[in-house]
Amino acid sequence: MDSRDSSSSSVPNRDGTAGDDDGVLSVTAALAKDAALYFQSRKFAECVDVLTQLKTKKEGDPKVLHNIAIAEFLRDGCSDPKKMLEVLNNIKKRSEELAHASEEQVESGSDVGNKVTSGSKESGSTTHQVSASHSASTIYTAEFDTSVISLNIAVIWFHLHEYAKALSVLEPLYKNIEPIDETTALHICLLLLDVVLASCDASKSADVLNYLEKAFGVGNVSQGDNGNILLQQSTNLVGKLSSVPSSSLVSDASTPDLAASVNASENPLSGTLSEDPLDEMFSTLDISGQNLSRSADLTSPKELPRTTVDRSIFGVDLKLKLQLYKVRFLLLTRNIKLAKREVKHAMNIARGRESSTALLLKAQLEYARGNHRKAIKLLMASTNRTDTAISSMFNNNLGCIYYKLGKYHTSAVFFSKALSNCSSLQKEKPLKLFTFSQDKSLHITYNCGLQYLACGKPIIAARCFQKASLIFYKRPLLWLRLAECCLMAVEKGLVEGSRPPSNRSEIRVDVIGKGRWRKLLIEDGISRSGLVESVGKDDWALGGDEEPKLSLPLARQCLYNALHLLNCSDSSRLKCLLPSNSSLEENESSDGASSKNPNHKSLVGIDSKPSTLSVGLVNSNGDLKEPKAGTNQEMIHNSVAYFADICRKENQMMKQALLANLAYVELELENPLKALLAARSLLELPGCSRIYIFLGHVYAAEALCLLNKPKEAVEHLSIYLSGPNKVESPFSQEDCEQWLTEKPIDCEEPNGGGGAATAAKNPSPEGMQEFMFLKPEEACGTLYANLAALYATQGELDRAHQFTTQALSLLPNSTEATMTAIYIDLVLGKSQEALSKLKRCSHVRFLSSNLQSNKSS
């Protein structure tokens, strides 16, 4: 037995060159210290030299190899991060292999002992579980600890904007963070926080933020209104524990001899069994009451600061950093009010220090509140524009503000400035790893795409979105925007095979012959046939250098992508709404070995228990109840719930838009059945806006009409009939405004900046202008025109005639309505009336037949 235990303790030295030789050990230790000093003073060449010496003494030591790789990479100017990733992954693999090998040694030794000592009946069942997970734990035995390597791998992924990959490395570390030493653990947490914030994952951000504040105790020690939190927390804790002894066994009258035995046995756990084991039992049981203060000390679950000593080490810097993280988190979750409070707090902490980040966040806050002028002022104040990276952000952010102000051309100027900043950043030498993450050109390019779309330039906008898809390909909105580009391009006649816009909004009439032989040939300019035929086989493949070929089939493909992504995020968001359960599921799926354990569920639940305190603080209006005296945790949790609510709403809106677009595209592609399906699912959406209900009915009716089901088509349209021939407005102006300002904006307190509040509440005129859709009365006209068309095909010409008259009074310039009116006249044999309508309509273009026949010949 002795030999086994000693062997296990000496395992770490196993491959070292005579680890028990004190002389060699101290030499390597000294070299390691030198190398570390060089590294810290950024003398990487010298550092590598020392490490090379060290390497000869400790051949194959993964930690030496790792530090060499890091130092060389930095020495060589971070030129090839992808290769560096490969190197680090190899070292990590090697380290794990070594750990595994040493593990097996220990295992084979201890197995023997185990059989001898424990013959309990359960051993068989437990052994399996234990050994399955054992390897995971021993990775953290100091020698083969890979946490630093993993952290560095994640750091590189982070700088390359590969947040998902960074997350996949960091999450296992975070889950097993307890054994990792303080400094590394802090780096892991901070990096993880940046990663999850960058990927807009509010609930994970909240989790990490909570953990950081608890474990490093920084967030709690704050001035002002947060000051009471620590106190509150600690009293809660004590309160919970102190409730224990008051009703402890000591006071049990049925065991009168108990108190005596307690006093008698000073140290009942000496291990020697007393005469009456039962007495001892009693005494040990109630020791829990007596020694309460002690046991409270022993408690080190996450409620207590990880180590009180460390707090001073990280100091104000960390405090400010965490405060800024918190503001970023609150901005992400659009908890504007709290963000405002916390950003103030951050400014207080930063007093007298460099606080440009705080100012930038404040600018973002004002931007989010719709207070654009103030945002511009803050941006101007914050910026150190000599730094290329910063000025790129500055320009981009100004671009955002001007976009919101409806000044698309000004915003275009700033976006392109920001992009050129980025490209000059790339040329700066020496290259730093940080430079990679500072290159935000793809983000800026996305903004450019939006701006071009707003300016009605679909092709160039699509090119931007295509570029940005490298990082945003998982966002459903990106795909919706691409589909919008396609639709706009088709509408503008920029797509091969589509008609130029003039042809779509005009009635073309060929004038054939002269004099008494003159004939008018009304061309069916609106009919979309012909678009379908232009469908090319060379569908745009994502990621290709090729420019996307905008087309209706591409629009459809994009819409399907978006719907798919949206459904995925819906199901994952469902989990987020139930925070404790969701973390549970994740854990269960990730470590399958222990999931059979009946205790496992509730065990994992411990972590997230504090966060289940206050679900449902978001009331039905979606307003966030201000947690007045709430703890940080509560505040963070509420923000997550609030944000989940916002996301749910936004996704609902997006789904409406996607299905409406899909129905439209399918109609354009002459797939009435699919169009009908899309329109029906649109109408089935809960909480659908009245605008989209209107679209759903119109599209469904048209699809049904194309499927020769006029009766059902009429049903869809007659929903809006209030009298036999009277159409109700399908939506109101307020519906449009509400659609534009769906985001629940936190309004300012009445005493300060009321202007900002109203600006945010009402859609700006620019916003309305951007919302290019039918006015309510035009929607009525559309319904009249479509009812007319429907009844005309049914042969109910009188009714059709009535509707068409009403349609033309509301939409005098509508080509479609005019055509239907002319059609009805012709069917009724009133060719003179048709002719006069044709000549009255402002959208008619008469073409001489000679030209035409020449062209076509």
Partner: protein, 442 residues
């Protein structure tokens, strides 16, 4: 661009055909010549002709005859009912307003009346046919009769879109004539003839029929005029929080691994002591040392050499150390395994003590506590030795009372089980006490 019904070649062909109708070629000859081109799209040609025929002024009488002949001949290889223009032909044959020779010609084409259906009449030219036509020789049947004969076996309407199937002709006559002058009157026609004299072409109300004809033929489209549906373009999705606002990133530097060549003997003393603690109780000062060192280095507990498998030994030999270690490991991912081992251990004073202490120090998973209690109760029931059983029952009772009083467990969860236990061992004083406690809580 919209689909033109006829390609250029077809246009020429039709124009030539119509022009040559006034020549002395036999109709048969013209038809044969016309159908020599295999690429000819019969339907498109026929449809164009039918559109032209609908306008009574557009084609001359000979041209009309030839056009009708083509409409018929295009589909003559099939049954008459299969001809898509059969109803057009029938209607034309019954058109009271049409010239009789034309109606008779169509009836001839359809082979109406004369069973020997000679094609003799096609051997003459169109103008000859008109000239030789004897109105008295022809009787005109009722429309119903014709419809019965030629349309009865017609196929059901092929599927067509509702909107399109109701299309009307999209050609409108727009005669540009002075008001008061009837465009269709004979005067105008005669004036036209007069106008055709050289040099007098561009007079008001005049026009070139050939030009109009070729223009029409060039521009006719398959689609007629149909009622139009307004298909509103969906609005663009509002840009809300979509624009990317940029903030400076935190710089994350690559980290030096401080663990390189570090002293791995960290906590060697504790590891040794823990190893010892597995085999037997430690001396008080040793115990104190372990607790102090573990308290000094919060990470040491992860490196002290304890594994879940070794826990039972530690519990039996040094329960206090076991409690301390487990409390320190409470956030460790392995804690679940430790609990599993603990719950499955043989029931003993020490294991119960450990669990009891844990319940007061940390929040234990409910499931764990419940399973542990169940195991306690079943251990009591299974034990054979009466003395040992009494002892264990008393222990369990005290343990349960402690848990209940400290509100570690909710009595409701285990009420029946615990009650049954109390009743079974009611002879034991502590069990009776526990039972009373249960009753007060009820």
């Amino acid at each position: 661009m919209g689909k033109k019904m006829l390609n250029f070649e077809e246009q020429c062909k039709i124009l030539n055909l119509l022009k040559s109708s006034s020549e002395q070629k036999s109709i048969e000859e013209m038809l044969t010549e016309f159908f020599t081109n295999p690429k000819l799209r019969h339907f498109n040609v026929c449809y164009s002709l039918s559109l032209l025929l609908q306008d009574k002024m557009m084609l001359s009488s000979t041209e009309r005859l030839v056009a009708f002949a083509i409409l018929h001949r295009s589909y003559s290889s099939q049954k008459s009912a299969a001809n898509p223009f059969i109803s057009f032909l029938v209607n034309a044959a019954c058109d009271e307003g049409a010239e009789n020779y034309e109606r008779a010609f169509i009836l001839h084409l359809l082979g109406f009346g004369n069973s020997n259906s000679s094609k003799e009449f096609l051997k003459q030219s169109a103008s000859e046919y008109i000239k030789k036509f004897d109105p008295s020789s022809q009787t005109f049947p009722q429309k119903e009769q014709l419809q019965k004969q030629y349309l009865e076996k017609a196929h059901p309407e092929p599927y067509a879109c509702l909107l399109k199937s109701t299309a009307v002709k999209n050609v409108l006559a727009d005669p540009d004539v002075p008001p008061g002058c009837d465009a269709n009157s004979a005067e105008c026609v005669s004036q036209d003839v007069f106008d055709l004299e050289p040099g007098a072409k561009s007079k008001l109300g005049s026009g070139d029929r050939d030009e109009a004809l070729s223009g029409l033929i060039a521009n006719l489209s398959l689609e007629g005029l149909i009622p139009h549906w307004i298909r509103p373009l969906p609005p663009r999705f509002p840009v809300d929080e979509e624009l990317v606002w940029l903030n400076p990133d935190n710089n994350h530097e690559l980290q030096w691994d401080q663990g390189m060549c570090a002293d791995t003997s960290r906590g060697a003393a504790v590891r040794d002591l823990i190893a010892k603690a597995l085999r037997g109780p430690l001396a008080p000062n040793q115990q104190e040392q372990v607790l102090v060192e573990l308290a000094n280095d919060p990470k040491l507990v992860y490196h002290c050499g304890l594994t879940p498998r070794k826990l039972p030994e530690l519990v039996e030999s040094n329960p206090l150390i076991a409690v301390d270690v487990l409390i320190k490991l409470i956030n460790s991912p392995e804690i679940a395994e430790y609990f599993t081992v603990l719950v499955n251990m043989d029931m003993s004073l020490h294991s119960m003590e450990v669990v009891n202490r844990l319940t007061t120090a940390v929040e234990l998973p409910k499931e764990f506590v419940r399973t542990y209690i169940t195991n306690c109760i079943s251990s009591c029931e299974n034990i054979k030795d009466k003395y040992m059983q009494n002892r264990l029952v008393r222990l369990v009772c005290v343990f349960l009372q402690s848990l209940i009083r400290n509100r570690i467990i909710d009595v409701k969860d285990l009420f029946i089980e615990v009650q049954a236990f109390c009743i079974e061992f009611s002879r034991i004083r502590e069990a009776a006490g526990l039972f009373r406690l249960l009753k007060t809580l009820e």
